[in-house]
């Protein structure tokens, strides 16, 4: 399925890259795997080396937090928009 991954400006301030990445993936985790192939420096800002989402980040599928769905295993419908949201808890 094709999806858009939207990256926060605060990430791009420290790591060069696009604000939106177009991806083909079946799941949220699959989308990040795809990001890793094209933009490895961006992907490792979002997940650690064990594939876990960083502690003070949230991933939203549309208006829903994927933590309230199936996490990284959440399926991506065609045309999904995924948003990386830095939490206030991280400063």
């Amino acid at each position: 399925m094709s999806a858009e991954l939207h990256l926060p400006a605060s990430l791009r301030a420290s790591t060069p890259g696009p604000s939106v990445v177009e991806l083909e993936a079946e799941t949220v985790g699959g989308a990040l795997d795809q990001l890793r192939l094209s933009w490895p420096q961006l992907e490792r800002r979002i997940r650690d080396e064990q594939g876990r989402l960083r502690r003070h980040l949230r991933l939203y599928l549309g208006e829903l937090d994927v933590a309230d769905l199936q996490g990284l295993a959440t399926s991506l419908p065609e045309g999904s928009r995924l948003y990386v949201i830095p939490q206030v808890s991280g400063g």
Partner: protein, 352 residues
């Protein structure tokens, strides 16, 4: 992270704009074996995690490799929290660089500090599950390479104590004989490991001489850690974080004592670097040029350093955002910078 430059006099400094914004930089390093020296900055963003940056143009630009430079192996279940320490290896191995990290682990680079691999011998040490985190985290914060033998290495971690290898990192043994864990029951105050060491400093040409600042306790070893003895005569307190052996004189040592772990402030609220001229046998305060009343800032474990130049400069930074410098072994101090963010790490080098 901020770069300050001076001419050869080291008397007037120009500060450049802050770099690596929104990250805490615990581990600065300078590899003087390269020309120009390679700079390192272990930076952690609360949102986007830790990384290790390097600069080959003396801090004008910083970069990192595409793949994570320091990462635990996939499937280990362990994730990097922070790079605490970057330490170039001995001159005989010019591409060998070490990284000390949280959680407790040592990494080794064989390409000059671009990519690192986990030192499995220490990671798999049977003591590892029994190491506790210190107040700052479960960190391996100190790496002391032997200057001529690349197979020998000493590390210090909070709170596990000092460990050594003599086979290039395959096997490790604790080296804490004589160091006290004051918080333990009386009959268990000298355990094999578990001491809360805060920093160890060595002399570049006398590797057997080590000084350690512990969580209560200042110690000296004259046998590369085989044994330690307390050297606290004349200190106002034996708590603190940094320790530095003067590169020109192994008997000259610097400390920044704090009252206690329950009062992490300088005694009498005076900013004083304590200096010994006899390897810790006696201590004296150095005060000239430093605030001597109402002082409430402190110096963290990596914020006291030397530039290793001829007529070595000694530098320290404070949590109040000041950096001071001495070009006369602490007889007098000059302020290099003020009003910075809290200073976690300071490194200096004379180049060119």
């Amino acid at each position: 992270m901020v770069v300050a430059r001076s001419d050869a006099t080291r008397e007037r400094w120009k500060l450049e704009p802050l770099q690596l914004l929104m990250s805490s930089v615990y581990g600065l390093g300078i590899d003087r074996r390269r020309q120009p020296p390679r700079l390192f900055a272990g930076a952690t963003s609360e949102h986007f995690g830790p990384s290790l940056f390097h600069s080959d143009d003396l801090g004008r630009t910083w970069s990192e490799p595409e793949a994570a430079p320091v990462a635990f192996p996939e499937g280990s279940g362990t994730s990097l929290v922070r790079v605490w320490q970057i330490q170039p290896g001995p001159d005989v191995e010019p591409d060998l660089v070490y990284a000390g990290v949280e959680p407790h682990a040592l990494f080794r680079s064989r390409d000059g500090g671009i990519s690192f691999e986990l030192v499995e011998g220490l990671y798999n040490h049977p003591h590892r599950p029994r190491w506790e985190p210190g107040g700052g985290g479960a960190c391996l914060h100190t790496i002391v390479p032997h200057p001529s033998d690349p197979d020998r290495l000493l590390v210090a971690l909070s709170a596990g104590g000092v460990y050594r290898t003599s086979d290039g990192g395959e096997t490790w043994a604790p080296a804490n004989r004589g160091i006290q864990s004051y918080w333990m029951p009386e009959e268990q105050r000298f355990p094999e490991f578990g001491q809360c060491v805060h920093k160890v400093s060595s002399h570049p040409s006398r590797p057997e001489r080590l000084l350690a600042q512990n969580h209560f306790g200042v110690y000296r070893s004259d046998d590369y850690g085989d044994s330690w003895e307390a050297v606290e005569e004349g200190l106002p307190a034996n708590f603190g974080f940094p320790v530095l052996v003067d590169p020109e004189d192994a008997d000259t040592v610097y400390l920044f004592p704090l009252v206690a772990d329950s009062e992490r402030l300088p005694p009498e609220r005076r900013c004083r670097v304590y200096r010994s001229r006899d390897g810790g046998g006696t201590w004296e305060p150095t005060t000239r040029g430093l605030p001597q009343s109402g002082y409430h800032s402190i110096v963290l474990r990596d914020a006291l350093c030397t530039d290793y130049a001829d007529r070595a400069g000694i530098y320290f930074g404070t949590r109040g955002g000041e950096v001071y410098q001495s070009l006369d072994q602490g007889d007098s101090w000059q302020q290099v910078a003020s009003h910075l963010p809290d200073v976690l790490s300071v490194r200096a080098a004379v180049v060119g």
